[in-house]
């Protein structure tokens, strides 16, 4: 089972909706939880016990913290210490499962991991930490916690939601509503459009270039890399549309994972718009704790004594930033390419931070308008290179391969060789991919301007409105890259 299959949107989801609606509101959460576990079972079978174990650990950890807060005779620092020990045990247990399944392969021990372990483990940690911090109350009903950790559209590749966002809405068993179903399915359709029309169409070129870049001119390698970036965006954000659309069907608002990332100002802004829920998770549970940790503060203080505030103010954020990007890299998998990817962004964002103020001053002195067209274009070009080079290393099988591909792009680039390269796509595929990308770009521009395209379509008169949706449906059916000559690609981020 996978979200991009019609079996999901046209069979599994309607079946769940029907059963959900037929159950009395009070016990709808049971129907939903059963659907969650069946979905999990369909993919990972018996490995579901690990998911159940993580749920139990998380529940008990939250309860124990709550118990200690209420009943422990300790006060102040002593109490914090006790809470911290309990949180530590909880995190070690759930994170331990993730480490065992994901990282022991470094030592040659491999297990098949339960689906979504990279995602739900982060949710267990955020819940336990929030209880520790006192920002949420420990859950008394294990069913609600189980729902929060296992909601079926989220389980495979996020978005990583917070307990405070989804636990209660999931449990409430809200009535299905016509408007929600219609809007939800529209969003699902839009996701299928991105995935089937564009992402899967570009896939063969990406595979060809990354598996045999030695056979290609630098120009073709560059095209392959750009195609990969586009494929990844279309595929990941497309699956998000399907996922968030599914939530919408049940009246559940799942957090957005993308916000027009390619219109970002710089690398740090890009990461506030790309895989947003991973970024905010790392911010709340790695960045802040590290930068406010006592040892880090101590170091910052001693640096201040020696070098002054101009330098010391960068100490804590930089240390924390390093931890964030190391975690980001490692989270994607046990491989040097991922660590390199993390460090690449660490360095870039670090540079952006220390140069921001001087650049601003410089621009002011020279009277350069930073919001002028020229500056915007330059910024866009810079970001384009940054993102594509990053994704190149992300996709490469080794850091060395990444560098030799990069060398090929910049060293052996002949635009004339591009037309002779066989990228596994015919002229129709290329043209159609281009049209699809332009459509998505236009929609993204509208979203960036704050226009809701779906609301706009909904406000059209019926024949026109239906016409639009019929056109989208038929274009997916006729122009989708499925069936003979194409391979439907499995969801990329479900593998992380």
């Amino acid at each position: 089972m996978s979200y991009h299959l019609l079996t999901y949107s046209l069979l599994f989801l309607p079946a769940v909706m029907l059963l959900y609606q037929l159950t009395p509101q009070k016990v709808r959460w049971i129907t939903l939880l059963a659907a969650d576990y069946i979905f999990f079972w369909l993919i990972s079978g018996g490995l579901i016990i690990w998911m159940l174990a993580a749920t139990l650990v998380t529940y008990v950890c939250g309860r124990v913290i709550a118990y200690v807060v209420e009943h422990s005779p300790a006060k102040g620092k002593e109490l914090v210490k006790q809470k911290r020990v309990i949180l530590g045990i909880g995190v070690i247990l759930t994170l331990g499962m993730l480490v065992v399944f994901k990282y022991l392969k470094v030592f040659g021990i491999t297990f098949i991991a339960p689906i979504g372990i990279s995602y739900y483990t982060l949710q267990t940690i955020s819940y336990m930490t929030d209880v520790y911090r006192g920002t949420v109350k420990a859950e008394t009903h294990i069913g609600r916690l189980a729902l929060y950790l296992s909601f079926f559209p989220q389980i495979m590749e996020g978005p990583i939601s917070r307990y405070s966002e989804t636990a209660h809405p999931l449990f409430s068993g809200k009535q299905l509503e016509f408007h929600n179903i219609a809007f939800g399915y529209q969003r699902i359709l839009w996701g299928l459009f991105k995935k089937m029309l564009i992402a899967d169409r570009l896939a063969p070129a990406v595979i060809k270039v990354f598996s045999g870049y030695e056979n290609y001119d630098g120009s073709a390698v560059a095209v392959g890399v750009v195609f990969y970036t586009i494929q990844l965006y279309m595929e990941f954000s497309g699956c998000m549309d399907i996922i968030i659309g599914t939530g919408e069907v049940f009246g559940i608002v799942l957090p957005e994972n993308f916000r027009q990332p390619f219109f970002a100002r710089n690398a740090s802004d890009f990461w506030r718009r790309w895989h947003i829920t991973l970024g905010t998770w790392l911010k709340d549970y790695v960045f802040y704790p590290v930068s406010l940790a006592k040892p880090v503060k101590k170091v910052a203080k001693s640096v201040k004594g020696k070098f002054g505030i101009g330098v010391s103010k960068f100490v804590a954020p930089t240390a924390a930033l390093f931890c964030v990007w190391l975690s980001n890299g490692i989270w994607h998998g046990a491989g040097w390419t991922y660590i390199f990817y993390g460090m690449y962004y660490f360095v870039l964002i670090f540079i952006e931070n220390i140069t921001e103020a001087p650049v601003k001053k410089f621009a002011e002195r020279k009277n350069i308008n930073m919001e002028g067209v020229a500056c915007k274009v330059l910024r866009g070009v810079k970001l384009f290179f940054i993102v594509n080079i990053g994704e190149l290393f992300f996709r490469a099988t080794s850091v060395a391969q990444g560098f030799s591909m990069l060398g090929r792009i910049f060293g052996k680039f002949h635009i004339s060789a591009l037309l002779e390269s066989n990228l596994g796509m015919d002229v129709y595929d290329v043209a159609l991919a281009f049209v699809g990308i332009v459509i998505v770009l236009l929609v993204d521009i509208l979203h960036e301007k704050g226009v809701s395209v779906r609301e706009k379509i909904a406000s059209l008169r019926l024949p026109l409105r239906w016409g639009v949706w019929y056109a989208v449906i038929l274009s997916v059916i006729i122009l989708g890259a499925y069936g003979a000559g194409y391979t439907v690609v499995d969801m990329i981020y479900a593998a992380y």
Binding site: T7, S211, G480
Partner: protein, 320 residues
């Protein structure tokens, strides 16, 4: 009342969609090549072979990418004097092999048809075989799902870029690949008793192909190209079994030590396909085998095949 209105609207929308699907299915409808998996490749290949002189080919090579990587017709001609053509296409399935052969037999009367065995494990279903059961269901009901990619033909016929042109291929379907990426896995054909069964429709199509060959007085020969990534002894056993039962020749090059493949230099992708260096070894080996087993004549000095001689020169230029 509001709910009823919504229900009416939904039903109306779905009905409209159903009608549209029926209409589109009438548009995306095929008269020929119905049981074909990859119509585009099949059509291209048929047109290619159609550009050859009638009854000029003695050997046809079918199969997937292993086939056009391993068998070099121009080399086969320049060293043994046998004319041949590679009818292999990327990821070819046996249903496509069958259709290609059916069409090619109309203009050619080859003495031997060689099928590279890797495609036996690709299944032979023509459509509706993704792991998406709802998509399969729709594909079997509405031809717009099955033949949707024909939009390229529609667009092509408007822009004049359509298929149907006879394109001559100087390398006779072979694809030269010189890059080297060694295979380091060591020995791979470990003798065993296991058998890895073919997908069921493979048997059906193999029988159909055999009958087609018999009807055209053509010998069928199965060859497994050297490929540590794809081939195993269990697969060998299964092919051997079918070949014996059906009294068809079978040559497993993975077991031929005197073939002399050097996995450090003769593969382009770590033991998946042989590169040109490997293809030369394979072609020379089977050239000798074909001459000996089937007594194919040497056509190098025949006036009718002068153009073949020209093409061979072109191949040698490639190597320089």
């Amino acid at each position: 009342m509001k709910i009823n209105k919504n229900v009416v609207k939904s039903v109306g929308f779905l009905l409209g969609l159903f009608v549209l699907l029926l209409a589109m299915s009438a548009v995306f409808h095929r008269k020929n090549f119905v049981n074909v998996y990859d119509r585009e490749s099949v059509e291209r290949k048929i047109n290619e072979v159609d550009a050859e002189k009638d009854n000029s080919l003695e050997v046809l090579f079918c199969g997937d990418s292993e086939c056009y990587s391993s068998f070099c017709p121009t080399l086969l001609f320049s060293e043994f004097g046998h004319t041949s053509y590679v009818c292999g296409t990327s990821a070819q399935r046996l249903c496509d092999t069958y259709t290609i052969l059916e069409e090619v037999f109309k203009t050619q009367s080859p003495k031997v048809v060689v099928i590279e065995t890797n495609c036996f494990y690709r299944g032979a279903k023509s459509s509706g075989d993704s792991n998406d059961s709802v998509l399969n269901f729709l594909t079997n009901r509405f031809s717009v799902f099955a033949y949707h990619s024909d939009w390229k033909n529609f667009v092509g016929s408007f822009t004049g870029k359509g298929t149907g042109k006879k394109e001559k291929n100087d390398l006779k379907g072979f694809i030269v690949r010189n890059s080297v990426n060694p295979y380091k896995g060591g020995r791979y054909m470990v003798e065993c008793e296991d058998e890895e069964e073919f997908p069921t429709d493979t048997y059906t199509y193999l029988d159909k192909i055999l009958k087609l060959c018999n009807d055209n007085n053509t010998k069928l020969l199965l060859i497994s190209s050297p490929s540590p990534k794809n081939w195993t002894y269990a697969r060998h056993n299964s092919v051997k079994k079918w070949a014996n039962q059906s009294q068809v020749g079978y040559l497993d090059l993975n077991l031929q030590n005197n073939l002399g493949i050097d996995w450090d230099t003769d593969t382009k992708d770590g033991g998946d396909h042989v590169n040109y260096a490997g293809a030369k070894k394979v072609t020379r080996f089977i050239g000798a085998y074909l001459s000996e087993t089937y007594g194919l004549p040497d056509l190098r000095e025949e006036q009718d095949y002068a153009d073949w001689k020209e093409n061979c020169k072109a191949t040698y230029d490639l190597e320089k």
